[in-house]
């Protein structure tokens, strides 16, 4: 995979903790572990189910749209 990379810094104590943790797992490096965890977290946020309760923000947005489309005046 020809991915591009940027650099970030995290506290050394976290790196040490992760190094300890990955010993019990399939992850080959701290980088791999951190990338995986972050991908999962971002995915979760994206896939979060909208609540059944009428979200005010959604409502306002849709109201605006329906007005633009001529349904509401």
């Amino acid at each position: 995979m020809n991915e591009e990379y940027g650099e970030i810094r995290i506290p050394t104590r976290l790196i040490e903790e992760i190094e300890e943790r990955i010993k019990q797992t399939e992850f080959e490096s701290v980088e791999e572990y951190v990338t995986f965890v972050l991908e999962e977290v971002i995915k979760d946020v994206d896939e979060e189910e909208p609540e059944e309760v009428f979200s005010e923000e959604d409502e306002a947005k849709v109201k605006e749209r329906l007005r633009a489309l001529g349904y509401l005046d």
């Binding site: 010993k23 019990q24 797992t25 399939e26 189910e49």
Partner: protein, 414 residues
Amino acid sequence: MNEENLKFVIVGHIDHGKSTLIGRLLYDTGSLPEGKIEEIKEICESLGKDIEFGYVMDHLEEERDQGITIDTAQIFFSTKKRRYVIIDAPGHVEFLRNMITGASQAEAAVLIVDADEGVKEQTKRHAYILGMLGLNQVIVVVNKMDLVNYDKQRFDAVKEELLRFLSEIRITPSYIIPISAKEGDFVARKTSSMDWYDGPTVLEALDTFETRKSARDEPLRFVVQDVYNFDKRIVAGRVESGVIREGEKIRILPSGEETRVKTVEEYLKDVHEAEAGKSTGITTEDKLFIDRGDVIVHSDAGDKPVVTDRIRANLFWMDRTPFKKGEGIRFRCATQEVACEIERINTVINSSTLELIGEDTGEIRNREVADVTIRTDAPVVVENFNKIQELGRFVLGRGDTCAGGIITELEGEK
């Protein structure tokens, strides 16, 4: 209705109708949440039609895709006889590990095959897993009979292919049933679509299966943890199965020596027996040599565990460092612990794809499942996992546990 639940798993190729079968089982036994059925009925009526299974399935599938209903870890439904639990199907590493280490057990399985497509690679792999887990209550369903016009010849052809394969992996299915989960034929109801078939429906077949006996009803297996010498000589251990009582005649394994239970001791209590699951102490009439790891059974029981140094088992390797043949490792079963060697790695499969990795190989890697022959340095007292789980389950380890396993075959087994 019986109090016990029967846990079973549905396996087979992913497109062969597993979720439709589950939906049909729930629908026909009225096990779907009342509110849900009402909801779907309302929508059907709004659209000007009657509620039909197809719409229920659509609805369920949609909700499942969105992660809402049907927690696929455990699905419940009931017949008049008892309650059933469908456990998540193989292919997931967790499931397999739980099955092998005994954390969650199915007591029966339904293997599903598409009548039109026939036996596929995944069908075989899943059947293989059933064999490995020692599941011997198996129903095969030949599904989607509606797509082949309920043709008896087609059913017979698929049945033959299946039986041929299953016999190779030493599985004898209890039933082979032609069904259409979509149309509802022979899952819960007998219909007139296949009058050449006079066997049971899937539900009827399930009702004939047995749940695992509760450990209390099994033969006595008292596993010794320690021997203490206070004012009396107390043999401390755990009753893995059965019940141990004062006055009973017992035999110590592996030595084979016999004596009687003098007292059953529990700290600060006056007891005369101890049942499966209890840790307790006993004193014996005769002062025999008893050691940690010994297993105590009833003398006159016909059913005895096996004392052996050679075991055939299925194990789930859980350590990052692979096992290499020739490596010495420790075998632990109940309180017994001995050094052992894996004499032969018969087959290795990938636990998530269930693909065969190799036969007669030299190593087992993380998350692989292996059929092995183990040679212990000293005789151990064990059971076939299907008979008495508590002595049929073991772990292998270096310092930490590296693998969980279940015993599938024993030399000297009756």
